[in-house]
């Protein structure tokens, strides 16, 4: 039963072939069996999940057909959940029980989800390994000696190891797509402002984008449909209409123009490079044409991202001085302190123009560069990560680990664009390789369409780790 995709599970639930209680129990049993090897969760909410599953079954019996009624999901631990501990994987918040729900959680609850638990992440989402969690590293289900990526590493591992039907993660620059790539699952980073940030523990407020991690592309569209939309509690959410994300997902891609930039293949692991080049050939066979484009070098984007994100982190975590819950600042971990220090420096008197303002100006150049590219092409394709999953311990003592792991996704995040990771093969060692399909702002429909057509033509997403 745990093999079912979200769409399949909904069909079976609606036909009364299975109940939500059965489905939820199957996942809770799987979690009990596999979780000791993976550590994907900070909190498993067994009691609440069973209660909500029972309620979902009753609601369905009474004739309701909410879009996620009775579907067991995992939620990253930086989403506020009313009455349920929310730590952002930091010890500072080890006892924090939010008195309200994040908008994303509220929408999912209203759509009928059954939450199985809160997933592990890099503490405060500061990282790309899930190794900086104060609750222990999450392990990659494909090889438990390897990292799952991050910061939504627990979320991605929970899908790869079948510990939930689908997961909700968040991305500042890479935190959905990179762990999805390393764990061999589908991860969608919506356009900044498409999904509300209200109630999400803030990291980089001009970048943070909640989104789904799923077994396939269709499920990603189904979930985005629930998550997307303007929120009066988040003034940066877009008033533009939310389209029907499933409507055009099967469109043929004849005549689709794919942009490929050599800069995004430079320094990329040979096996990764070969698989992505193969994937592009698959899309060409399906009717797309490839156009070589020149994009602004990702190395500058890393520098821009490092300044902007650290500055926003130092400002966001400065608020912890004023909040009246959790422990004090001595509970901040090494990575959080390092980021606060750089951010504070970049914003401090005498350095603001040299670093922060300079970064904001280069941000403008990056945005214009993508705008120009999207006049010529419909989507841009690149490897999601320059490598496959690195071994446990790889991030330790590396001040720029995340930036190098996220080299190829940081530029599009800085510009607030949409993008999706889809599985595109495996290394000889059996580790997943992911392709990033980047679209313009509010390009979710085309991104999902291309990803879905590619997925239909390949079998990578059907592979499961032996665990």
């Amino acid at each position: 039963m745990i093999d079912l995709t979200l769409k399949q599970a909904l069909e079976k639930l609606n036909k009364k072939e299975i109940s939500s209680v059965e489905l939820t129990k199957a996942y809770l049993e799987r979690i009990k069996k596999v979780e000791p090897k993976i550590n994907a969760f900070v909190t498993v909410t067994e009691k609440e999940a069973l209660k909500n599953a029972e309620h979902a079954d009753k609601t369905r019996a009474a004739g309701s057909s909410l879009p996620l009624l009775g579907i067991p999901l995992s939620i990253k631990d930086n989403f506020s959940t009313k009455g349920i501990k929310t730590t952002a994987s930091s010890k500072l918040l080890e006892n924090y029980i939010p008195p309200y729900d994040a908008t994303v959680v509220k929408k999912l609850n209203e759509a009928g989800m059954v939450m199985l638990g809160k997933t592990n992440m890099d503490a405060w989402a500061h990282g790309s390994s899930t190794e900086t969690s104060d609750y222990g590293a999450t392990r990659n289900p494909w090889n438990t000696d390897h990292l799952p990526g991050g910061s939504s590493g627990g979320a991605a591992a929970s899908i790869a190891a079948d510990l939930a039907i689908a997961a909700i993660g968040s991305e500042t620059a890479g935190s959905i797509r990179q762990p999805a790539s390393w764990c061999g699952v589908v991860g969608l980073k919506p356009t900044y402002g498409r999904v509300s940030r209200y109630g999400v523990v803030a990291m980089g407020s001009s970048l943070d984008s909640p989104g789904p991690i799923t077994k396939n592309v269709e499920d990603s569209a189904l979930l985005l449909q629930v998550l997307a939309g303007q929120d009066p509690h988040d003034a940066t959410t877009s008033p533009s209409k939310v389209p029907d994300y499933l409507k055009n997902i099967n469109n043929k891609i004849n005549g689709l123009k794919i942009g490929v930039s050599d800069d995004y293949f430079e320094g990329v692991d040979g096996e990764v490079k070969a698989k992505i080049e193969n994937a592009i050939k698959v899309l060409e066979k399906l009717g797309a044409t490839v156009k070589r484009i020149k994009l602004f070098s990702p190395k500058y984007s890393i520098a821009v991202y490092t300044i902007i994100q650290r500055a926003e982190v130092s400002s966001n975590l400065a608020r912890l001085d004023g909040i009246r819950y959790g422990h004090n600042r001595s509970y901040l971990g090494e990575e959080a302190k390092r980021r606060i220090m750089l951010g504070t420096y970049a914003l401090s008197s005498g350095y603001y123009d040299q670093y922060y303002n300079k970064a904001l100006k280069v941000r403008t150049i990056i945005i214009d560069d993508f705008k120009k590219a999207f006049h010529e092409v419909d989507v841009i394709i690149a490897p999601t990560s320059p490598t496959t999953a690195l071994p446990i311990g790889a991030s330790e003592g590396q001040a720029m680990f995340g930036e190098l792991a996220d080299l190829l996704v940081e530029p599009s995040s800085i510009a607030g664009l949409s993008g999706i990771n889809v599985p595109a093969g495996f290394s000889k060692k059996g580790l997943p390789i992911g392709m990033d399909i980047i679209g313009p702002q509010f390009g979710e429909e085309i991104v999902l369409n291309v990803a879905h057509i590619y997925e239909q033509a390949t079998e990578w997403h059907k592979q499961k780790p032996k665990i």
Binding site: N95, Y96, I97, P99, Y100, Y192, G193, S206, P232, A235, T236, S238, P239, K299, Y300, I302, A303, V304, T306, I307, S314, A318, D321, R324, Y325, G326, R329, S330, L332, K337, R338, I340, M341, L342, T344, Y345, S348, Y355, N357, K358, A359, L360, K361, V362, R363, T364, I365, I367, A399, M400, A415, G416, Q441
Partner: protein
Amino acid sequence: MKIDVKHIATLANLTLNDDEIELYGSQLDSTLEYIEQLNEVDTKNVEPTSQVTGLENVLREDIAAESLTQEQALSNNSETHNGLFKVKGILDND
């Protein structure tokens, strides 16, 4: 070392020990070295971008809505007094 680590730690309200001061000092220096690559980019006549949505002056109706109760607002706090937050004094007595 380019950064006065102790000064920045004071600004950031972080208490660092000597080992941390040394560690962050060298790591921040190397990070700054990387960042300085941005000097290669010509930004003359380029306006800064602080947010990407293009939205400006987002307003809403000022309508009173349900909010947290006093009990909920205090629910995560260990130091309360008469239903209020207990905080440290911000002014010196002398």
